[in-house]
Symmetry: C2
Subunit: 306 residues, 2 copies
Amino acid sequence: MSFKLTILGCDSAIPTVDKQQTAQLLNINERFFLIDCGENTQVQLRKYQLSFQRISHVLISHLHGDHYYGLIGLITSMHLLGRNKGLHIYAHEALKEIINVQLSASNTNLNYPLFFHVLPKDEEKILFKDDNVVISNILLDHTIDCSGFLFKEISSKRKIIKEKINEHNIPHNKIDEINNGADYINDNNQVINNNELTSIISNLHSYAYCSDTRFSSRIVPIISDVDVLYHEATFSKDLVKRAVETGHSTTKEAANIAKKANVKKLLIGHYSKRYKDLNILLDESKQYFNNSSLTKEGDVFDFNSL
Amino acid sequence: MSFKLTILGCDSAIPTVDKQQTAQLLNINERFFLIDCGENTQVQLRKYQLSFQRISHVLISHLHGDHYYGLIGLITSMHLLGRNKGLHIYAHEALKEIINVQLSASNTNLNYPLFFHVLPKDEEKILFKDDNVVISNILLDHTIDCSGFLFKEISSKRKIIKEKINEHNIPHNKIDEINNGADYINDNNQVINNNELTSIISNLHSYAYCSDTRFSSRIVPIISDVDVLYHEATFSKDLVKRAVETGHSTTKEAANIAKKANVKKLLIGHYSKRYKDLNILLDESKQYFNNSSLTKEGDVFDFNSL
């Protein structure tokens, strides 16, 4: 099952010619989730040849402009290009009004349905679930209501346990049937239940997105053991006071969350403009959590080959 | 006096990697007017090294997203970069609410004043006037309320009439004083009034911006004799029916307006994405009005050297 993250933008606050604001596209089994949508995200999607008509869900962490100013343009372009498939938006309540006043000012009746889901402000719960993934919100600690997102791959699919093939002398041509749920009838007409022969596929991926936020140890159990954690690291570790004041984290704080939560890999981003050389941030992060990586516009992280 | 137009974007509807939506910057005597503000305009300003903190007035023709979705980001970035100088916005009424709901959602109190001026919907009048320029709206014919803008340079400055120098035998060292408004006292102690010696500087520039609009001959007397007319030409002349339906103009229509209004130069833009080679549009326009030019992102038109 594909589980692939593309970074469309990873900079904070003010966009410049070569710095795009936060947006990520997560492909889980060819279902596309857009996480945050800074100004110009629709062009970033085009730049990396990612069809925005295939996006079915948009998750907006919070209503600072660098995380959502590109959404109204994306919604409008989807409409102009003839979309008729519904779009699900998960965001804090005020975004609904922000979208509606803009559609109303241009007399636009979208030719596809928008399904707006209000993010909870004081509890973590499941936002979405299908056969492949369950998505929950994560309460973060920023200057306004802010939500991270936890994506956990799930599977109802079962696969034959290798040892059972020899044990029951199962012929090769029966394996597909058994993988698809059939019981096995052996030469003695004895029925061996599918549950005894198969187990649920267990190599399932998980991703936690945490931006923007202060250091918050309460999220550790929520994100524990995920494959990949994206945690903002706006500042270097010497600016911890500034980070607290502005509702952000330092490299050291992001790395400490990764370590405490025992994640496999940490991605950092949302860099302050003051850092011309981002390796300063990476080196700091690696001091506390070795498997740290910078995110850069255009990066693709394929969870099947991490 | 500087009178210079920079094209920041000139494409219609949907932005792509190399096609920016409508935005223009007009520099009149180092006062900067932003006309329309499609998504990503703040980055376009940076790309062409135009300081957006120097913009004092923003004029938004209408509330289709390709003409204003970049404004909220620009307003926010001005704030984050410490602006304290007021910003004047001229637009249709709904934009005020659109800006306010977004500032409110992020708990932003701008550290500079926004002065919002509602564009008239059924009359043409003066929007702004200072010592250098008078700006009026132009009622256009689009699918929603839409306004063009007419910029006319004015001058209260007077300059000595050459013939008067000999006639009154005026010494060279008196000319500056007279240009600055002084009367002249001749050798017979006779006072010659400044108004008799000087005339108002008359080489004054003018610019009319008309987008988006159907062909509308009623604007001809309003924009007559301007130096430069920017008139949208979304379609080639064979698509006149489509132009009427969608509230736009063809090349031939734009050129006919330019001809009837006796303008010096016509700029066309707001091209439909269907034209890969814009010279098709230019050639058509030239058939009916020879001094036609395409606009392209990054073009600068200096009215002092047209």
